[in-house]
């Protein structure tokens, strides 16, 4: 068995910048992102990988970052919610649609929801309502009843296809 206290060097790209960390083997990626790198837009809403608040992109795929050990992310490229709006940039079309359609209330699920919607729109550029509701089924929102999130995704769908 490996020593649980031994620190492991991990290197990955996050939001376009290289990050180098020394972490315990048990350190979850979400904790490394939030605590070691200070990117607190990614949230922890549960401890059983049910809620999706911690969703980020690893090598272009939406992943719940509580399901990944930091050491497993070595050599990958990660995008978090902060990566969608580099300093001064306008809102990403999905974020803009969330604002337009009042698709967020407390905002706690929003980062993960937006990252999952990016994946959804990559998989289904012109999604049906069923596609949308299924596509965000890994993310729990307790405030909006999902109604306006679905509206926002429908609205963003057309715009997302443009580069």
């Amino acid at each position: 068995m490996s020593d649980p206290d031994k620190l492991h060097d991990v290197t990955f790209a996050i939001n376009g910048k290289q990050a180098r960390l020394a972490v315990e083997p048990r350190r979850l990626l979400v904790h490394a992102i939030r605590e070691d790198l200070g990117l607190t837009g990614t949230h922890v809403g549960c401890d059983t990988s049910q809620c999706g608040a911690c969703t980020v992109e690893i090598d272009g795929q939406a992943v719940k970052s509580c399901t990944v050990l930091t050491v497993m992310a070595d050599g990958t490229s990660i995008t978090t919610i902060e990566g969608l709006t580099p300093s001064g940039a306008a809102l990403h079309p999905i974020q803009a649609a969330f604002h337009e359609h009042h698709a967020l209330q407390c905002g706690f699920c929003t980062s993960g929801m937006v990252m999952s919607v990016r994946q959804l729109l990559r998989d289904h550029p012109a999604p049906s309502e069923d596609d949308i509701r299924h596509g965000i089924a890994g993310n729990i929102c307790r405030c909006t009843g999902y109604h306006n999130i679905v509206r926002a995704v429908q609205s963003a769908a057309g715009k997302e296809r443009q580069p």
């Binding site: 837009g41 809403g45 549960c46 809620c51 407390c106 905002g107 937006v114 729990i140 999902y146």
Partner: protein, 790 residues
């Protein structure tokens, strides 16, 4: 009197001013706050529902890596606490509640010991090293079982496990029962729920260099938390600062006083460094208050034409192992006072008993008592309709309180008054939007093909913004009903609003700005809103009971008027005219009928601060603070309709459509209002269809201990919701606004149950308890078919 003559912003669907931060990951929740030298607290929780604590051995934990402090209940005995409720119904027997259990644990999850360590992982590891000797005792989790002879007793001073007995009486039910053609009896269960804010609770307590204390916590009620924590831990209240940053949902669960909120400041003071506690989701299921958990027995005295002569209710409200903050008031005042709903039922008799059990304490959750009350009224009238084979809509119309009856005191109540409403119009609007007649026909047609569709109808009213303060005293509250607002104008004419209300996702920055902008007649961009910091905000009660717009908003409205009144005086001095000749219009002080040049608000603000030319007796500055105590409460109302299809083979329910028509008085922001309805309705659908806390009745183990077992609905499980409004302004406040936040979770549970029962009518099924899960429906259909073939 309503006074919104100069409306520009109120009524507009403005997009939220707070969104940008939250959308770009720049929200700041308690868990995002980093302080230098921060230590982490973890709690050892009782694995037993009821057990004597014989010995707590902390020696291994104290020796574990990184551990700075480990304490048991005995160590803390007499040093802080006890936790006392804030609402105590007269006559209530209040059980003693230590912050950390001393010699007995009474529910799975109760705090038994704590560890403070340098990292959270070290704290968790050390908690695992604590050795406790328990001697388990018989446990009881169900409210009906808890009051039976021979049931395990929780507290010496609470015989039969009943803390509170509360009675309501209006008219003469006994006489109505004699005069009735028939008495219908029904037992209904209001299933126990977990509020499930997406942000769990979290506390950081930091001793400051100036001998003050800062506590960061997601509090719906920062100023009340300041008082409670100060009193319970022993910190001078003025030296305690509560900071509630962004809150990831509250729904009532973040307005109580929990052990961790006391322990963090206590240990931080002991150690002289900041200490953080963060609640994991599974921990939350056994440490944050639950909701609902009632059993009700109903007797309905009816005439065969559908007239309801009388209603008799017996409520058992399960409040868990101790009386949480408001717990004695929920099953009593908040529930049975509202048991007659939107109907004229002159003869009403209710008995409510508040019952302790070996479960997580139960307290306010979105609607608190009003969902349970509406469920009583609605299940009653629906049962009558089903029994008499009357149309669900017609029986409601027949028994409705009529428009001309307002203000209306149901069953001659002294405490309950519905200020305004128009239920008939709500019903017409809802039926039209839903195509009730068309869908009724569609149901009939499809039934012939073995497709079981059903329509649910539910109506509700309740009371929001509890007030005035003296009335709260009479019902046993240790708080008032007022709200505070401060409007501070700077020398450029821009405004900062300090509100005692507390947004948890409601969008107060937007809605409060709209209210102030209309009175101040300045651009909304020139208004900032500050909440959630007791060092900045002068005073407040916070956000609960759908009170923020009706009480907090009214407070701000009146306070803004005072600003304009003073500014008008200053303007009069600057213009050298009499104050009463000065009008304020379009952001300009003008003297109508003259050619005197108008003065802008900004110029007057400047004068207020330079003070060069103020009328005699007027102090400089343009900064007003108001404590606003309403004269009465507002009564929102609504009619909701649901359309479902039940697969009789599997018990699956497909929710086809949901229409909500709500009367919340003046709409401040229709976009945000609809958002409140959507969210509330889905929480109500969740109660009706999916969610239920389960305990093992034999040993009191919590079976729904994580989000793996507790079925919070996902997008696939809920329908689109059509939210429409009717505006009958409330006469109880200057804006005419009523509460909105709780409406959806009040109306949706009976609406959904009625829809499913309607679909199952061909099977002769007349009652099912929530949640209407496929196994439960399937079993009912099977039983009905077996019974029919016998």
């Amino acid at each position: 009197m309503n006074d919104i003559s100069a409306t520009r912003y109120i009524g507009q669907s403005l997009k939220r001013r707070e969104d940008h931060r939250l959308l770009t990951g720049k929200g700041r929740y308690v868990d995002d706050i980093k302080l230098p030298g921060l230590l982490h607290m973890a709690i050892l929780r009782s694995p037993h529902a009821h057990a004597d604590i014989k010995r707590v051995d902390l020696s291994a934990a104290r020796a574990a890596p990184g551990v700075r402090l480990a304490l048991s209940g005995k160590d803390l005995d007499g040093k802080l606490g006890p936790i006392v409720p804030n609402w105590i119904i007269p006559g209530t027997k209040v059980p003693f509640r230590a912050v950390v259990a001393i010699d007995r644990a009474r529910f799975v999850g109760e705090c038994v010991a704590l560890v403070v360590a340098e990292t959270l992982a070290q704290a968790y590891d050390a908690v695992g090293q604590i050795d406790v000797d328990y001697e388990t005792l018989p446990a009881v989790t169900d409210e009906v079982a808890a009051i039976a002879d021979g049931a395990p007793q929780l507290h010496d001073n609470v015989p039969s496990n009943i803390t509170t007995v509360y009675k309501v009486r209006g008219g003469d039910y006994a006489k109505a029962a004699v005069e009735a053609d028939e008495i219908i009896k029904l037992r209904i269960v209001n299933n126990r729920l977990i509020p499930t804010c997406m942000e769990t609770r979290s506390v950081i307590a930091a001793p400051e260099a100036d001998d003050t204390f800062t506590v960061y916590m997601p509090s719906q009620v920062p100023h009340m938390h300041r008082r409670w924590i100060a009193e319970t831990v022993g910190i001078p209240e003025h030296r305690l600062r509560i900071v509630a940053p962004d809150i990831g949902g509250g729904f009532g669960a973040k307005m109580h006083l929990y052990p961790e909120e006391l322990l963090c400041p206590y240990v931080a003071r002991e150690l002289g460094v900041p200490v953080k506690w963060w609640e994991s989701r599974s921990e939350s299921h056994q440490s944050t208050s639950h909701g609902r958990a009632h059993t009700e027995d109903l007797e309905i005295a009816i005439k065969h034409d559908g007239t309801i002569l009388g209603l008799k209710v017996s409520t058992l409200g399960n409040v868990g192992a101790y009386l949480s903050n408001m717990a004695s008031g929920g099953p009593t005042v908040n529930t049975v006072n509202f048991g007659t709903g939107t109907y004229k039922i002159a003869n009403y008799e209710a008995l409510s008993r508040v019952v302790v059990t070996n479960t997580v304490p139960v307290d306010a959750y979105r609607g608190y008592g009003r969902p349970e009350g509406a469920y009583i009224a609605e299940r009653a009238i629906d049962a009558v309709a089903r029994h008499l084979k009357l149309d669900q809509v017609e029986i409601r119309r027949k028994n409705f309180i009529q428009r001309a009856d307002f203000p209306y005191r149901p069953y001659g109540s002294m405490g309950v008054i519905y200020d305004s409403g128009d239920y008939q119009s709500l019903m017409e609007k809802a039926l039209a939007a839903f195509d009730y007649d068309g869908r009724r026909k569609e149901c009939e047609t499809l039934r012939r093909d073995g497709v079981y569709r059903g329509i649910g109808v539910a109506t509700y009213t309740h009371m929001c913004g509890m007030a005035p303060s003296r009335r709260l005293a009479a019902s046993g509250f240790d708080r008032g009903g007022w709200e505070s607002a401060r409007v501070a104008i700077d020398s450029s004419g821009r405004a900062t609003i300090y509100s005692g209300s507390m947004s948890q996702g409601h969008g107060h920055v937007t809605s409060l700005s709209q209210i102030a902008a209309d009175v101040l007649q300045i651009p909304i961009e020139n208004i900032d809103v500050i909440q959630g910091d007791t060092r900045q905000v002068q005073a407040g009660h916070g956000t609960f009971n759908s009170r923020s717009m009706a009480v907090g908003g009214s407070s701000l409205h009146v306070c803004s008027q005072r600003i304009v009144d003073k500014a008008r005086k200053i303007a009069a001095g600057m213009l050298e005219v009499d104050e009463k000749d000065v009008a304020y219009s379009g952001g300009l002080f003008i003297v109508p009928g003259t050619d005197i040049a108008p003065l802008s608000f900004a110029r007057v603000a400047r004068m207020a601060y330079v003070g060069h030319k103020l009328p005699d007796g007027l102090t400089p500055g343009l900064d007003e603070t108001l404590f606003y105590d309403p004269t009465g409460m507002s009564a929102p109302s609504g009619v909701h309709l649901a359309y479902v299809e039940v697969d009789a083979e599997t018990g699956q329910v497909r929710i086809i459509d949901y229409v909500a028509v709500d009367d919340v008085g003046t709409l401040i922001n229709p976009l945000l209002a609809a958002g409140q309805i959507h969210g509330g309705v889905v929480q109500g659908i969740a109660q009706a269809m999916y969610e239920e806390v389960s305990y093992d009745p034999d040993n009191g183990q919590l079976l729904t201990g994580s989000l793996l077992d507790y079925a919070v609905p996902r997008a696939e499980h809920v329908p689109n919701i059509t939210s429409l409004f009717q505006e009958t302004p409330s006469p109880t406040n200057p804006i005419g606004v009523k509460g909105i936040g709780e409406s959806g979770s009040i109306a949706a549970p009976p609406c959904m149950v009625h829809a499913v029962l309607d679909a199952l009518a061909p099977f002769g099924i007349t009652h099912l308890d929530m949640p209407l899960t496929p196994p439960r429906i399937w079993a009912a259909v099977q039983a009905a078919q077996t019974g029919a073939s016998r």
